[in-house]
């Protein structure tokens, strides 16, 4: 197994009295797409936010490329990690182009001409017309917004992508095509992806490995095939049966 790009080392996290992650250990090797699935409140989103330092563990550590997240420059870390959330979080007061160029603009990475070219290229990468760059998010369809959210996360050329139910609010057909595109993007760019979802079909389709979580613990972590063949407990069996 390649060296772990993301590593959780005995992480505990609680909100008040409610434990969200209990002694959570996980290694994600470079280039893997790991999908995380579980009931809402099982801790999957919390795990994701620990990676880019939006949350800090109560005990234990999270390492990204060997660096302890709580001891590193979090601003720089976040700029090097793509982050996509369900509601897309597109900035309504900026054009699509400005949205996509946001992270690079924070460190003045691009001049105006580079920005125009890069934005056009990123829009094409996610299957959108470059002409959309001048539009505002309110003028886009749900699927287009999700794509722009992905393009924006890719802008600073991250090697890691954190995705929190990024396709949760689009229709089934759009979701399928977004999933296909994410897969080919991942292969093309060699991204390491942590992908949170509550849709077992999506988890199986996208994940090299699937992590099933229940109340802050890993209940099963394996390839989709092996999980389907031998579900570790009733919860997973139910999930798989629901799918059929």
């Amino acid at each position: 197994m390649a060296e772990a790009v993301i590593r959780f080392d005995h992480v505990n996290k609680a909100y008040g009295d409610t434990a969200v992650l209990r002694d959570f250990c996980l290694e994600v090797p470079e280039g893997e797409c790991l999908t995380m699935i579980g009931r809402s409140g099982c801790g999957k989103t919390t795990a994701l936010k620990l990676v880019n330092g939006l949350l800090t563990p109560d005990s234990g550590s999270v390492y990204v490329r060997g660096q302890d997240v709580s001891a590193t420059d979090r601003i720089a870390l976040r700029r090097s990690i793509g982050y996509v959330i369900q509601s897309t979080g597109l900035f309504p007061h900026m054009t699509v182009g400005k949205n996509i160029a946001y992270t690079p603009s924070l460190s003045r990475m691009w001049d105006r001409e580079t920005e125009r070219l890069e934005v056009a290229c990123l829009l094409k990468t996610v299957g959108l017309e470059p002409e959309l760059a001048g539009r505002y998010p309110s003028e886009l369809s749900g699927g287009q917004r999700q794509r722009v959210g992905i393009a924006r996360a890719l802008a600073a050329r991250p090697s890691i992508m954190l995705m929190d139910e990024p396709f949760g609010s689009v229709d089934e057909i759009t979701r399928r095509s977004l999933q296909d595109e994410l897969r080919s993007l991942r292969d093309e760019l060699g991204l390491t992806v942590l992908f949170v979802t509550h849709d077992i079909g999506e988890a199986f389709r996208l994940g090299d490995r699937v992590l099933v979580m229940e109340s802050g613990r890993i209940s099963q972590l394996d390839t989709p095939e092996r999980i389907a063949a031998a579900p570790a407990d009733d919860f997973i069996r139910e999930l798989i049966e629901d799918r059929k």
Partner: protein
Amino acid sequence: MEFIRSVIALYAERWQWFLGLLGDHVRLALTAIIISGLLGLLIGVWISDRPKLAPAVIGVCNVLYTIPAISLLGILIPFFGIGNRTAVTALVIYGMMPMVRNTYTGIVNVDPDIIEAAVGMGSTKRQLLTRIKLPMALSVILAGLRSMVVMTISVGGIASFIGAGGLGVAIYRGITIYNPAMTFAGSLLIALTAIVADLLLGTAEKRYRKKRRMK
């Protein structure tokens, strides 16, 4: 009809005097608007990050806002004497409330998902404020500015009771020499100034929203 004719006659006869007063009035109001605008914005931004402090600060601004204008001017005289300085101070104290409240409300009501996306993408605190929070709160802040400007222009009318300049001078003189036409002429100009300022800011606000395709 007779009355309106006498007001028009007054304008025609003493237009230079009225123009001078109008200039003084605009200068007085503008000074107060700039100071309370900046100060209110700064305080609003400052408390938007301090949820424990915010209600206290807004409470103080609300209390100050409820003091009747004439009595606030009276209270300030021992400290600042009479004249423009006291008038500006009083107007700034009034102008604080709408600015602080709207800046604060505008910022804390920015969609938390958007804040999270911006932080997760690596914004510093300052970048988050200047690129996301303030632009997104701008239309609420502009609404506060609008009401503050209109209020400052009209309350500025009583500043001459403590010896400050402006169109209040015409009102005050009209009262003392029993010339209602003069009082009316001064008041009318104040009202027109306030309406023009409101229209200008309203147009600016509309253009901003339209440019950003916001409803």
